[in-house]
């Protein structure tokens, strides 16, 4: 499977005192987090609480204002750190799928392996076919993204991320842009991934998924992690008033 357990460092990703402001507008106000290898972490919270910004900071699609992000013990914000190589190991799946529209399904899954991973075309094709089969789309390799449904596009996007054989995958509301009947097929793929031992961080509004699949749930509120713990505790015995409010709104 795509991840390799690192014997030396328990934590794949460690975040220390992360702050992010857009102009004078603080979005993240000091986040500390440690994610162990193979852990599945769900991040829940109201819109505007900073969940997506936090995830995008981890992949450096947003540059943090201050704080540290450690990957396998090394600070990725350090000057001279090889960011493309880091992103290769920490993949990302987006709300809007973001497939390359100038390529077909197979090419979408091959291009990164060839250009970044320096694999041969045949190796890349083989890996791509394997993962496309896993997400149930091996039949569609010749289709262009615009010819697929949202759920299919998202599954291709997941295959594309897996093709880089990452250590961890970040999911930014992977089912929020989908029609209700397509949410299931994508969640199933992510659930299967969770069982393979790949490290996952999932920003989601799917409470059932967070409860049943994740090892740990983070509740973000107003730019901080307001509460965290095992899903059972978070969902059945929320401590803070805000989380209780949030859950009643979502679960009713």
């Amino acid at each position: 499977m795509p991840h390799q357990k690192d014997a030396l460092s328990q934590h794949v990703i460690e975040v220390r005192g992360l702050h992010k402001s857009f102009g004078d507008n603080p979005i993240l106000k000091g986040i500390d987090l440690q994610v162990s290898a193979g852990e599945v972490v769900s991040i829940i919270g109201a819109s505007g609480s900073g969940k997506s910004t936090f995830l995008r900071c981890i992949n450096l699609l947003e540059w943090p204002t201050s704080g540290e992000i450690l990957f396998q013990g090394e600070n990725v914000l350090e000057r001279g750190y090889n960011i493309p190589a880091y992103r290769e190991k920490v993949g990302m799946v987006f709300q809007q799928f973001n497939l390359f529209s100038n390529m077909n399904v197979l090419q979408n899954c091959m291009v990164g392996q060839i250009k970044v991973g320096r694999k041969s075309k045949e190796e890349a094709r083989l890996t791509a076919m394997d993962y496309l089969e896993k997400v149930g789309l091996a039949q569609y390799i010749h289709a262009k993204p615009r010819q697929l449904s949202g759920g299919q596009q998202q599954r291709v996007a997941i295959a594309r991320a897996l093709c880089m054989e990452p250590e961890a995958l970040l999911f930014d509301e992977p089912t929020s842009a989908l029609d209700p009947e397509m949410v299931g097929e994508v969640l199933k793929v992510i659930t299967d991934l969770a069982h393979t031992g790949l490290t996952l961080m999932v920003v989601t509004h799917e409470m059932a998924f967070a409860r049943d699949v994740s090892d740990r749930v983070l509740f973000m509120d107003d730019g901080v992690i307001a509460e965290e713990g095992e899903p059972a505790g978070i969902f059945t015995n929320p401590k803070s008033e805000r989380l209780r409010e949030f859950l009643t709104r979502f679960l009713s």
Binding site: N59, L60, P84, G91, G112, E123
Partner: protein, 265 residues
């Protein structure tokens, strides 16, 4: 003699001159558009390069250099778009001789001017084309570890080129017609040739009717051809499903192929 008689006579006597003029016009338009396209692409890429890499807003040698280059390019675009090509032709042709002592032929000066001029317009077209590519795809490409250049070459520019194809075709058609202003420095394109032919018999109307027909033929044909090219680039609108029965087969083939490849190595 009627108009038709004159046209017949001009065609009979001077068809090689018309043909040569038409040839030059076509050549100037092709060189100008292709050269301008390349210039535009380069400038467009430079002008959309982020000033700071990695998100750190630290001033570096790279960011300072980039700012200077951007300023120079902005001046180039403003000057070339803000003055008539006819004036540019005169300034380049006589200016090079006067100030740099470079004596180039009028044809070479003409090619240079039409290329530089088209480049300025194309630079803006390319910039718009790059900005119109979905930024989410740029992020996705970075998220699988591609550098800025890899993202540009593999994701952004292929889409940009498709997007700006209609505008580039338009530039080509404009060049076919506007190359006529290069007659001011005696480039023997179609307009200049027609003027020469006119002055032999002092009949204006007929030679220019012939010239107009040739221009129209060029522009009409090229706009059709460009439309075809656009369709070609879009690829087929349907796709073939690989049947699930053949998928394992396909995988096996891949494996066999790969095994073969390794053995050869």
């Amino acid at each position: 003699m009627t108009t038709w008689d004159w046209i017949e006579r001009f065609l009979q006597l001077y068809w090689p001159q018309f043909l040569k003029g038409a040839g030059w016009t076509l050549l100037l338009a092709i060189i100008g558009t292709v050269g301008g396209f390349v210039i535009g692409l380069l400038i467009g890429v430079v002008r959309t390069t982020p000033l700071y890499s990695g998100g750190q807003k630290r001033r570096s040698l790279r960011s300072v250099l980039l700012k200077i280059v951007n300023a120079i390019l902005a001046v180039y675009i403003e000057v070339l778009r803000g003055t008539p090509m006819m004036v540019q032709a005169v300034l380049v042709f006589y200016g090079l001789m006067e100030f740099a002592g470079i004596d180039i032929t009028s044809s070479a000066a003409g090619m240079l001017v039409i290329t530089l001029n088209t480049g300025a317009y194309m630079a803006e077209i390319v910039r718009g084309g790059i900005q119109s590519v979905d930024p989410g795809q740029t992020e996705a490409s970075k998220a699988i570890g591609m550098t800025h250049w890899q993202t540009m070459l593999n994701v952004v520019l292929p889409q940009t080129i498709r997007n700006i194809l209609p505008a580039t075709g338009n530039e080509f058609i404009v060049n076919l017609k506007d190359s006529s202003v290069l007659s001011v420095i005696m480039v023997s394109e179609l307009f200049y040739s027609t003027q020469v032919i006119k002055s032999i018999y002092y009949r204006t109307y007929e030679p220019f009717l012939i010239a107009a027909t040739i221009y129209l033929f060029f522009t009409f044909t090229s706009s059709r051809l460009l439309r075809l090219l656009e369709k070609r680039m879009d690829g087929p609108s349907n796709y073939t499903l690989i049947s699930s029965a053949t998928t394992p087969e396909l995988l096996k083939q891949n494996r066999r192929y790969q095994a073969g490849a390794t053995r050869r190595r």
